[in-house]
């Protein structure tokens, strides 16, 4: 449904605004990489712009740190609607390995409403292109949604075994 809506809301070229909220540059250089000859997203009409006021989509990379928290919010507010936010990389998804340290507020969703997540540390350029294409309804989704549950500590051997079995079921599901 969201893909259909996105196709209706963004019928023409998609302009991206890249917002680094405290990333390690890993995701940022992969975002830049999708513009270069091997991946060349301009063929889909996708273009990076310098100002949030020109953009349809915000690519958010990195955990939102304490100083950038209000700034990311303001960059999002500056974007004209309709707008989408993509969280690129593990840190934008949930804050990464430093999600709860003293200077980090958490993942991208703590500051702005994130519509699509592109996982990876860093995500491959193909993954970024696929993520944006998926949002625009250019390609179909390849995986069904799976729900995972974290096993609490101390680990119960029985629970752990069950978790492993469940995981295998998930892998089987993904293969089918």
């Amino acid at each position: 449904m969201l893909a259909k809506l996105a196709r209706k809301a963004f019928p023409k070229s998609l302009w991206l605004y890249h917002c680094n909220s405290g990333a390690c540059n890993g995701c940022d250089i992969e975002i830049l990489n999708v513009l270069t000859p091997y991946y060349d997203v301009e063929r889909f009409g996708i273009k990076l712009v310098g100002s949030p006021r020109h953009a349809d989509v915000m690519l958010l990379s990195g955990a939102v740190t304490r100083p950038t928290f209000p700034l990311v919010k303001r960059a999002f507010e500056a974007m004209p609607g309709p707008k989408l936010v993509f969280g690129v990389g593990s840190c934008a998804l949930g804050g990464g390995c430093w999600f709860d340290t003293y200077n980090v507020s958490g993942g991208g969703a703590t500051a702005v409403p994130v519509d699509y997540y592109i996982p990876g540390c860093p995500p491959r350029p193909e993954a970024i292109v696929y993520g944006v294409a998926l949002a625009l309804g250019l390609v179909d989704k390849k995986a069904a949604p799976v729900e995972l549950k974290q096993v609490e500590f101390p680990i119960d051997a029985q629970l752990r075994n069950r978790a492993w079995e469940e995981r295998n079921v998930i892998y089987k599901l993904l293969r089918d």
């Binding site: 680094n20 310098g50 100083p67 950038t68």
Partner: protein, 558 residues
């Protein structure tokens, strides 16, 4: 100055206040000195030709009731380092500032004012550096009683007070999000017409509290992977530097083959990083052809690293005691094939870049610093080598397998952005040469991972330097009793190079700002903090957002 003559000079100068001891290896000299003579000794080391690396502050109240402070100096010509240590009582962590004479120490001192609550008497700019503007005073995150996940409530309308603008200048705010900066950082550039007359920097917006995290939450073996995520471009460098510092502190000797594989990984990383920089530099001066071409040439290297390590970046290859994956004969042929292709293509790119007059006009004479000042600011890597300072950790303080490899260190004395550009281009060829040599000289078999004892000795010090693509990365480590570092200090090359940027910007054109900042290879996009400068009244302040909204909305209404 050799080690012995240095010790003699210092003994003559300070007498009983000074204790000299050997470090973990003969290349490390440790000097313990009384707090009162700390500043004098540091200045003497600088006068003797020592290059200021970084300072390390630590909270040691639980084990000896004092705070520790270390200044690190490198004697590059003689290949040794000096750690000048002192301590201050828990109640009064006060030291004399060395920043007026050694400008490169400015940030170190400001960092510990924030993180450990130290006082440096005489620091020329005692302002906040690392912590957020709304961080409450009196909470110092690196102190042991402060938990790693303490988040004090945020406050609104707290803004950083910028430096006083020089007379007759206008302030141009650049950042935190700006198209020429790939990372959030705020520069306030003071301009007279188009000429830059000064600059104030407010950065550290990507501070994620990694040092505190690794000192309190994870164990030795997990830190290399966190260290790789300090920087997504030169991650291996941090993993290698951390692993080497643990190995030095605990006296672990790793297998020779592992050292060669480390060297190869570090050089492959340099190749991709230099080509990345060349592209970004082209983009910053508005020459997107270079950006597209050099990233096209770079892409096979990314694919190669995926085949070698399993990931395009953030390799996860280097761990304490060695490396995780082998370079098999098939992979060896693969590397040689990719290198051959890259060498030919970079050759073409080099001619196109070096002979292009528009690049000459945008880079020659831009960001000029004379050699003496480059040394005073302790500039590193290609930024220093482009200004005639002949330093390279790989040659001066060899680590991994660099002692067996022969390579040239390109040095330019033009002192400007052009110099750094040429140095980086030539280094690409040197890296290719190093990888080829390393593949030739690598022992054909041997263990990849040396077994490490379960318990590492506590409170040992380890120092390691690794030449990152941007310059020297320094890691200082004090081992701890709980299977994790007690103190782990990371200093990336940009930390030092960025301190020299205001000097590089001086008297340059505002349009050259992106390439000068870009020449040190940092990263940055556009919610500006609004700055108002009233030229006549000489008063200037940062308006809080609510005030601006009130002003804007007020004006719209009749």
């Amino acid at each position: 100055m050799t080690k012995d003559s240095l010790i003699r000079t210092l003994r003559d100068g300070f007498g009983p206040a000074l204790t000299v001891s050997e470090g973990a290896t003969p290349k490390r000299l440790v000097l313990d000195i009384d707090r009162t003579a700390f500043r004098a000794a540091a200045l003497k080391l600088r006068a003797a030709g020592g290059r200021y690396m970084v300072g390390v502050g630590s909270d040691e109240r639980d084990r000896r009731g004092a705070f520790g402070m270390i200044h690190l100096f490198a004697f590059d010509k003689d290949g040794f380092t000096v750690a000048l240590r002192t301590s201050a009582p828990a109640e009064t962590p006060e030291f004399d500032s060395i920043a007026p004479e050694i400008p490169a120490a400015g940030w170190t001192e400001r960092e510990y004012m924030d993180l450990l609550g130290f006082t440096f008497k005489g620091n020329p700019k005692p302002k906040k550096l690392i912590l957020a503007d709304d961080w409450p005073a009196g909470i110092h995150p690196l102190r042991k009683e402060v938990p790693y996940n303490l988040v004090p409530p945020s406050a609104e309308d707290v803004a950083y007070e910028l430096d006083e603008a020089p007379e007759g200048t206008t302030t141009v705010p650049i950042g935190p999000f700006h198209p020429s900066l790939h990372e959030p950082a705020h520069f306030a550039v003071y301009v007279d017409g188009e000429t830059i007359k000064g600059c104030d920097y407010r950065g550290f917006m990507t501070h994620r509290g990694i040092e505190k995290l690794c000192q309190t939450q994870v164990s030795y073996n997990e830190v290399p992977f966190v260290a790789e995520r300090i920087c997504g471009i030169c991650g291996s460098v941090h993993a290698a530097a951390y692993s080497q510092s643990v190995e030095e502190a605990a006296g672990i000797k790793i297998a020779r083959r592992a050292e060669f594989i480390r060297t190869i990984m570090l050089e492959i990383e340099r190749l991709h990083s230099h080509l990345l920089w060349l592209g970004v530099a082209g983009h910053l001066i508005g020459y997107d052809t270079i950006f597209m071409q050099s990233w096209r040439v770079r892409e096979p290297i990314m694919w190669l690293s995926e085949r070698l390590t399993g990931n395009r970046k953030t390799y996860g290859m280097i761990v304490i005691g060695g490396v995780r994956r082998d370079i098999t004969p098939a992979l060896r042929e693969d590397i040689l094939g990719v290198l051959k292709k890259v060498e030919t293509e970079v050759g073409g790119l080099k001619d196109a870049v070096l002979k292009d007059t528009s690049i000459h006009r945008r880079t020659k004479g831009v960001g000029f610093i004379p050699r003496e000042e480059a040394e005073a600011w302790s500039l590193l890597g290609p930024v220093a080598r482009g200004r005639g300072v002949d330093i390279d950790v790989r040659r001066d303080h060899p680590y991994a397998a660099y002692d067996e490899l022969s390579f040239d260190v390109p040095v330019m004395d033009s002192g400007d952005v052009w110099g750094t550009l040429v140095v980086r281009l030539l280094e690409i060829f040197e890296s290719i040469k190093i990888v080829r040599q390393a593949l030739d000289k690598m022992p054909s078999d041997g263990p990849l991972l040396t077994e490490v004892a379960d318990v590492l000795p506590a409170y040992r010090h380890g120092l390691s330097m690794v030449e990152a693509p941007r310059g020297e990365s320094v890691h200082y480590l004090i081992t701890g009793p709980e299977n994790r570092p007690e103190r782990w200090r990371v200093r990336a090359p940009t930390y030092t190079n960025l301190q020299g940027v205001p000097r590089m910007l001086l008297d340059n054109q505002l349009a050259d700002f992106p390439i000068i900042v870009g020449s040190i290879d940092p990263c940055f996009s556009c919610t500006d903090r609004v700055l108002v400068v009233d030229g006549r009244a000489r008063s200037r302040r940062v308006f809080a957002r609510s005030e601006i909204e009130a002003l804007g909305r007020g004006r719209r209404k009749p």
